[in-house]
Symmetry: C2
Subunit: 315 residues, 2 copies
């Protein structure tokens, strides 16, 4: 099959985003595909710089991801963690032995003053990922989760506390002063379509949209801007999107997500199961595609990617 040679940009967070990124990577020529990834989840742990969403996207594109967990690499072992537990007891953030190579290398290279883009590019290249994967910004942005008992760092909320605290607000610390890199801006400007992957709108897409330049560049783009609903029948396939939206008094539905993102979109993709919402979404001023959005295997990832691009007039 001839690969698509129009410029495709995708904005992605973790699991859902990486699945669609995988689908896009199978049908778009690598030099024409750029995945811009949320870095609001980044944090430091045991002296290591850890970028969970970048890793999930990179591992998924490289075909080494762990489908059972949704994060980390397949065929993983946990012997460092076991030895660490002997020193400091159980730790809440799991670091697999193979996964550690990524964290060690990224941390070392960043410490050696390679840029975040360079480091990401080198890690991807060496894993055989041929499209471009970019952190949303090279500057620190940290998603902070406000709860009734105070503000939590994202991984503390997400991993340590398993998303259990009731969320009263979110803050993307550093975002207002952070700039998307030249490469990110250029990719968006030269794009023929911008795909918002079915990632958590609050935790994965909002940090990207919180960069002021990103909002401006997206607004200036005349390309189709298509989001895929991460909710089906009011539920996320994975992650806390529905719980979080409910706690923030949002409409917990595909329509709710479309409404929330409508300013930056031209089109919206919902699952057959939510067909009844098509009219409401169209009424928001968005073109609407109803199709199968559950990506259970590689074929359905590719199929959804194809349908989105066709819907955007890309072929």
């Amino acid at each position: 099959m001839t690969k698509i040679t129009q410029n495709v940009v995708a904005l992605a967070g973790g699991v859902g985003g990486s699945k669609l990124a995988y689908g896009l990577a199978q049908i778009v020529a690598p030099e024409h595909l750029t995945i811009i990834v949320n870095t609001g989840d980044d944090f430091e742990h045991l002296g290591l710089y850890i970028a969970p969403d970048l890793d999930t996207v990179m591992y998924t594109l490289a075909g080494v991801n762990n489908p059972a967990t949704g994060w980390g690499v397949k065929d993983e072992s946990w012997n460092m963690m076991a030895a660490m537990a002997r020193y400091i007891g159980p730790t809440w953030f799991q670091l697999g032995d193979r996964d550690l190579a990524t964290h060690l290398l990224r941390t070392t290279w960043l410490h050696d003053n390679y840029s975040y883009n360079q480091v990401t590019k080198e890690l991807c290249r060496r894993l055989g990922v041929r499209c471009t994967v970019l952190p949303m910004t090279e500057q620190p942005v940290r998603t902070m989760v406000q709860t009734e008992s105070g503000e939590l760092a994202f991984q503390e909320y997400f991993v340590k506390l398993k998303c259990e605290p009731v969320v009263t607000g979110l803050r993307y610390a550093g975002a207002e002063g952070a700039q998307p890199s030249r490469e990110v801006v250029s990719a968006v400007r030269q794009s023929d379509v911008i795909v918002f992957c079915p990632s958590n709108p609050l935790l994965s897409l909002d940090p990207i949209l919180a960069l002021p330049t990103m909002r401006r560049v997206l607004a200036a783009s005349r390309s189709p801007k298509i989001a895929v609903s991460p909710l089906i029948k009011g539920q996320a396939l994975k992650g806390p999107a529905a719980k979080l939206m409910k706690e923030l008094n949002m409409d917990v539905s595909a329509t709710g997500v479309a409404h929330y993102l409508r300013e930056v979109l031209t089109g919206f993709v919902i699952d057959h199961a939510d067909q009844a919402e098509e009219e409401a979404i169209t009424n928001l001023g968005l073109r609407t595609l109803v199709t199968g959005t559950v990506m259970t295997n590689n074929e359905t990832k590719v199929q959804l990617a194809q349908e989105i691009l066709a819907f955007a007039g890309i072929s």
Copy 2:
């Protein structure tokens, strides 16, 4: 058995040193035993602070050492290295998955401004090591190996080049300006015996002796200062001691080691196999003990420790 409650200090490097340290730890009350360990082998790799001799001593005392390799921990796996190889090809310094926990924690704690002594103490404590293990100094000292083709960092010579280059000299960079810590000085001053473990005299003991204050404190001590020959019949049980001594035109024998260290010693222990050298060593002004010095199992480690202490009048 009642444990010895006189103060025993041992100076140690890697494998041979840690075996005797293990023997001493079985018969000396933990609050009366201090192991002062060479840190000239320390280096940084992949952003991790690695202390090979401290780790070997600590792992051996904790009973988690890998007897097959002489370094690292038992029941080790190598999955981080395998994943790392995918990124950057094979690397010459092997980092086991379980061993990584030590390096990550030490590096993190040092980065958090805990002192090298504190970090060592905490690692030991959490592994159940009850005697005191001290780095020879908290300041950086790096053993540099001079060869015909230039100067090499120690691990490059020792691990990467497998001790193959012909050595023309050794340098302990930083040693002249480094101070043994207050704890090290105090342990030596309060010692009732000082044992020089059967470690490489050039690579393990000399870096310790290169600290000017250490030389002075040792010279001022009236305690018996007993070394155990690391050579038996002109051969080291492990490591490059014999090769190195030959390249530096030293007498490659127990007597040669005794001669080399005679200024700081009062007594010397040789193996039965070298009984013929007893007189030559006595003629150096050292009391000499001839006994079995090959530590093939825990019993022989304890037995050698007992004989050394008895020889020093400690019981």
